[in-house]
Symmetry: C2
Subunit: 517 residues, 2 copies
């Protein structure tokens, strides 16, 4: 689809402003209708011979102002309800109140935002799926759960019928405090801990504590970053300041230009690069927070899995001034479907956070909190971690070996812990989107950076053009070997095809692709 | 505690502005310190001989601007972190960045709000407790839960380890659609339903859909209203427009002066009055929504319990234009600790709501969703409702009889359904706060309107000076008879004491109270 538009090069206004106004007028005049899909920024850029970023900036303003919505992978669409009252008086739902005042209809619904897609219908998934962040289905402690659930229900009395403490079950908060002291060097009392609906629930709690005001707010995030955090902060209207990630983690020096007071980081195993923030950088980050009176949100989503050497002490374990907020979860170590995570807060934020949690959902569900408390207290959790760590390590070893063997020149990062690694694809292979398509054809799910719940800001494209994020914890070592060998074969065919020798295995599409080259 | 302040009557500025500036200066100069408790509005009003509302307005501005925080029942306190940079540079956490620009520290944390207190530590509760909204602990279907949880865990495969559909489990959404069609006249398909963390979770989802913009928003609520809704909307910065409730429910005519586009109502069994919105009012409310392009949030929290006659069709069942959003919950019918409720949305809001839900918590926990789906599909839910309806009706009958017998002149509302009724105390009894104190002394928990998760706006005080909200579903008919007879005796003593004849049953406190009179 092409839009019938042209840019006036003599007009002195910036191209992006012209483009914004043209598209806005097309929407207001219903030339572009509600729900209609807009052409991609790339195709408009080509059509008008302007830089792609010019189109991106125009689109971003239209998104921010509520004219259009961008949906990951689906495209960009004209919104059903538009911000201009001038259009909306033509809307069937609109009218004028008897007093003659215009109804402010354009204000609602006002939400503009996007979310990561972590859910995939099981029947729609490839046989060998490397999507990130999923524990192995067989790792779930089914028997323990059955026994403990049954016991707790027998003795629940009012615990099932009543609301609980908004902060969460006391027994679980005590067990978590013990666990964090032993494993992460964090010295917190149960009163500093609030149980949440996973890390996403904790991020919402913090977004409301920190970003509720009407004043403009700003949040620094890692670049690349986790969509679930970056998109959430963005949906609250916060300005997002992406900070460069390198192999030592966050480039703290870039913070000097940032005037906000809140940063979100994943120092143990950066998402998605897998890099670990060095101790030196950690100390510099804390120093920045102390000098500027800022808060650090430390998301420690997968540090339960460490294969080579001990993990570094958490930032929260180094903090002596109550400026680090620590997030943990059982989604990775036990299962995402239980939706239990937690936030550890400095004492002076606990009261506000408790009110926010009560307003969010009154409290988290009781029954599985009680089970997890048992699981931690009886030592079963540590035994569980030891067992699955062994099987994840075998999967990791197989994946590292296969990638290096079959794709020389590959760079793998984040292999020493966690549940995923990042693969920087060597230059002689196709780009990650093409690899994804070829892999899918042989039942292997590989996910380029933007399709793996990660996001990269800005024009530099340091990662998104070359990175594939490999979650390996759902697959056995054998499955991994089989999957990577299939991908290698599929890509070899491709390379053969490129040089003009059409492969017998491929049909029309391959044929056309080859002729275009 | 008294503040050393005086008002200049010759100053031409409004008294409330003067008072605001005096208190603000005391905070900025640290005469009033962080965390310090302010005197009540009543005592300042008495001290300065000004109307109490003058003080209330000054306090409200200080709250809105972040200088002080009000906590229900605890009082009003100076905030730890203040909005003025001028103060904050003295704060230990504050500094100046190397570039010389002042850090905008005052902005965070920015949350200002309050929450209802639905949780009460069991050991702290009176023996006979009439707090609202708690199902009877023995009503919980323990055996069904144990069997179904065990089964689902056995066959869960990846369902425990993976994220689910942000909208919730398909099987549960189908079961809810069937249930709503049969019992509430609502014709919704599963795709319109999103499973949430109870009604509070649903309200958050809607608050983000409707109130996320930076533009000023406004929400109409019933007066009196449910704290969990009113306080939540307020915490998003929405202007709250309270609309008068009478025995036919919402006084729809008051909406003509309201310029917003969103209203929150509890038409089946208004919280806290228990009034049912008449069909005529329902049609007028829908008409208002259609004329003004507005949305109605219908909170149907306890309509599973109806003792006299069939319930009215839900507003969502009358709506033909997709402008009613329906909220339901299993907190009242099964148990609050499972934290499962749902929202039924018009088709055109589903996509936005799904994104918001994914950003809130990715999805609701899987296991108990699966159990509730079974519970509904196997007919066990309707049998369960029939059984507990009988026992709640017996409790209701006992309570109505006791109140009318022992306190002639009492008005009871909302008795024909739900889990609570509202008692308008006759004029010859003490005020509700005093009744609460007297009842507590004989182990009976009675809750005046503001202590029962309800809130009343404005100066009219139509309800809060006379209303006690009685939740009766946790108590047996025998317990209720015993409790009310204890309260009657305690109040009789009181009346005796008032006339000077000290009761032998009462100790020092009673003695002093009598002497003060």
């Amino acid at each position: 689809m092409q839009l019938l538009i042209s840019i006036d090069r003599k007009d002195e206004r910036p191209l992006q402003l012209q483009l914004y106004e043209i598209i806005r007028q097309m929407i207001l005049s219903a030339t572009l209708k509600a729900g209609e899909r807009l052409p991609s920024t790339r195709s408009i850029a080509e059509q008008l011979h302007v830089a792609r970023n010019t189109v991106v900036l125009a689109y971003e303003r239209l998104i921010a102002e509520g004219y259009i919505t961008s949906q990951i992978k689906a495209g960009t669409f004209v919104n059903d309800r538009l911000p201009d009252a001038s259009v909306l008086v033509r809307n069937a739902h609109t009218a004028v109140v008897p007093t003659g005042k215009r109804i402010r209809l354009g204000k609602i619904p006002s939400f503009v935002g996007r979310s990561p897609e972590l859910w995939r219908e099981r029947s729609m998934r490839p046989k060998f799926d490397f999507f990130v962040g999923r524990p192995h289905p067989k790792s779930f402690p089914t028997h323990f759960w059955q026994k403990s659930l049954t016991q707790h229900l027998t003795y629940a009395r009012g615990a099932m019928t009543e609301y609980g403490d908004p902060r969460g079950l006391r027994a679980l908060r005590e067990a978590i405090a013990d666990h964090l002291r032993a494993t992460r060097g964090i010295d917190a009392v149960p009163d500093q801990i609030i149980i949440t609906a996973g890390i996403q629930g904790a991020l919402n709690l913090l977004a409301r504590v920190f970003l509720s005001g009407t004043a403009q707010s700003a949040v620094a995030v890692e670049n690349p970053s986790y969509q679930g955090a970056a998109f959430l902060f963005g949906s609250y209207g916060a300005q997002i300041h992406p900070i460069r990630i390198d192999e030592n983690g966050l480039d703290v020096s870039e913070l000097e230009g940032f005037l906000g007071n809140l940063i979100y980081v994943t120092p143990s195993h950066q998402f998605p690069t897998g890099y670990t923030m060095s101790l030196d950088r950690r100390l510099h980050l804390l120093d920045w927070a102390y000098r500027t009176g800022s808060y650090i949100i430390e998301d420690d989503y997968d540090s339960d899995f460490r294969y080579d050497g001990p993990p570094l002490v958490a930032l929260a374990g180094l903090d002596r001034r109550g400026q680090v907020i620590y997030l943990g979860t059982f989604s990775k170590s036990i299962g995402a479907a239980i939706r239990i995570g937690y936030v550890v807060l400095p004492h002076h934020l606990v009261d506000q956070a408790r009110i926010v949690k009560a307003l969010l959902d009154n409290c988290s569900p009781w029954l599985e909190q009680a089970v997890i408390a048992d699981f931690l207290n009886e030592g079963a959790f540590l035994r569980h971690l030891r067992r699955i760590r062994r099987s994840y390590m075998a999967a990791r070893d197989a994946l590292v070996e296969e990638i290096h063997d079959r794709f020389p020149g590959s760079l793998l990062s984040g292999t020493e812990g966690g549940m995923h690694m990042m693969w920087m694809v060597p230059r002689d292979l196709p780009d990650p989107d093409e690899i994804q398509r070829r892999a899918l054809a042989c039942e292997v799910g590989l996910y380029p950076l933007l399709a793996s719940a990660a996001f990269e800001y800005g024009k530099a494209r340091r990662f998104r053009d070359r990175a594939i994020v490999l979650g390996y914890t759902c697959l056995s070592a054998e499955d991994i070997r089989e999957a990577i060998s299939r991908v290698a074969a599929a890509l070899k065919t491709r390379r053969t095809a490129r040089t003009g020798q059409l492969s017998r295995h491929n049909g029309d599409r391959e044929d056309k692709a080859a002729r275009r080259n």
